[in-house]
């Protein structure tokens, strides 16, 4: 078919549908066959099993159950990330400070979220909209002491993206002590840490030395195959409160390995 005809065919679809798409109406999204999963619902069976194992086998059993594995990659280990759809549009990165891997998952449930609580400074971001990314960089001026420009970032990931040994990478930042936890009432494995990246002075450019800081929390649900990352500079206590009050639901879609062009992802940064 000629491209002119193709334009014409698409142009003549039902006007009702064209009008419907004039503006996005998030309320209509709930009409879709989605299953809302509030995080407070416990995965009773799984958790009971985990609790029994923990009791009987102690910490070792708990560690074996944890759905995130972390390691410091070898300096020579490289990770390739495509960033533009052309043969040269990729980035090879070695010298990652931390790599986190997940269980092999053929299918991940796609999720979206909305914050149930946000600090007063970010309250303008609180609404009924379901999202899969929230960025507060537009409100950076509310936090004058920040080292970077991202007060709060929340992003979702699918474990199926990271099959075949793929990893979420923490590239530039160096993590402090990593705390692993399980939040019973949210039924998620949790990994959280403060991290920093130091930059030496560059007198030739008149730049003093400086250090960027941020906190990161990863929430992982291995049964459903999703991960939520919260990061930013609102402080770990507040970040934890945001995480514990997140409302999460499934969209009804599943994500597979083939849906992703890249099979690594970055954890640091997150502005834009």
């Amino acid at each position: 078919m000629k491209r002119e005809q193709l334009s014409k065919v698409i142009c003549n679809i039902d006007e009702r549908q064209i009008a419907e798409a004039y503006q996005f109406n998030p309320d209509l999204c709930s009409d879709s066959p989605e299953r809302i999963v509030h995080m407070s619902k416990k995965r009773i069976f799984t958790f009971a099993l985990a609790a029994a194992l923990i009791l009987s086998l102690g910490i070792a059993a708990y560690a074996a159950f944890f759905s995130m594995t972390r390691r410091v990659p070898e300096k020579s280990e490289t990770f390739r990330i495509n960033w533009e759809p052309n043969p040269s549009g990729y980035l090879d990165w070695s010298n990652a400070k931390l790599a986190i891997t997940f269980p092999e998952t053929a299918e991940s449930k796609e999720i979206e979220f909305r914050p149930g609580w946000l600090p007063d400074e970010l309250s303008s971001l609180k609404n009924e909209l379901w999202r899969n990314r929230l960025t507060a960089e537009g409100l950076a001026d509310k936090y004058p002491d920040m080292t970077g420009s991202q007060p709060l970032l929340i992003e979702t990931y699918s474990m199926s993206q990271f099959n075949n040994g793929g990893a979420l990478l923490l590239l530039y930042y160096v993590p402090d002590e990593i705390i692993e936890d399980h939040w019973d009432d949210l039924s998620v494995d949790v990994m959280r840490f403060h991290c920093t990246q130091h930059f030496d002075a560059r007198p030739e450019h008149n730049i003093d030395e400086y250090t960027l800081e941020q906190d990161i929390i990863l929430l992982s649900n291995a049964d459903e195959g999703w991960v939520v990352r919260l990061a930013g500079e609102i402080g770990m206590d507040q970040l934890v409160k945001v995480a514990k009050n997140l409302e999460i639901r499934e969209t009804g879609n599943v994500m597979t390995y083939d849906d992703f062009e890249n099979h690594y992802n970055f954890m640091d940064g997150g502005v834009g």
Binding site: M1, K2, R3, E4, Q5, L6, S7, K8, V9, I10, C11, N12, I13, D14, E15, R16, Q17, I18, A19, E20, A21, Y22, F24, N25, P26, L28, C29, D31, S32, P33, E110, E112, L129, R131, N132, R133, L134, E155, T156, T251, G252, N253, M255, D259, F260, E261
Partner: protein, 188 residues
């Protein structure tokens, strides 16, 4: 800024009042310009397209009494913009709209036979029926991308979704549409 209701704007057209065009432009001018600008790359072409759109509405209302008015107006804008786009030389064309057509050709390949207006209408109707089977969000992504010719990042900003996920959804919808049209016997 308050806008007149669509029915009042249409009444003004029926009265042949020139205020009709001013009110139409005030309410839907941004949508007309966006629709044209997504298809045409030249600012001058976009302005001409917007003016031709208002003239087109003026010439057709009455006798038409469209409801909803927005899709009627945008459709005229889109028709004029695509005519202009296809008559432009390759160098003047908008790369984004080229990409939109490339993506559409994945699910409506050139082998599809739409020699007559009737066949083209049949295909448009089949696509509409298919779109009705989709979830609201997927239908929204599809129409914004292939009818309004929005960029993926524009759609992401409108819906507060990640661009990559929207691309994935669109890819799957194109695949579903291909199979739907095949089952309907519309693909050779």
């Amino acid at each position: 800024m308050t806008h007149l209701e669509d029915s009042k704007i249409i009444s003004l057209f029926y009265e042949r009042s020139e205020q009709a065009i001013a009110e139409l432009e005030r309410k839907y001018g941004a949508a007309v310009v966006k629709t044209a600008a997504n298809i045409l790359s030249s600012k001058q072409d976009v302005e001409e397209c917007a003016n031709d759109t208002y003239l087109g509405v003026w010439n057709t209302i009455p006798p038409q009494n469209p409801n909803p008015l927005i899709s009627y107006v945008c459709k005229i804008a889109r028709n004029i913009a695509t005519l202009k786009y296809h008559s432009n030389t390759a160098i003047k064309r908008n790369g984004q709209y080229d990409l939109v057509l490339d993506e559409l050709e994945e699910c409506i390949p050139s082998a599809v036979n739409v020699e007559s207006d009737y066949e083209a209408k049949e295909l448009s109707d089949a696509i509409s029926r298919f779109l009705d089977t989709l979830k609201y969000e997927d239908r929204f992504y599809f129409i914004r991308r292939y009818w309004y010719a929005d960029s993926i990042s524009d759609i992401a900003a409108m819906t507060q979704r990640d661009s990559h996920l929207i691309s994935v959804h669109l890819f799957r919808t194109r695949e579903k549409l291909y199979h739907y049209l095949k089952e309907e016997g519309l693909l050779v």
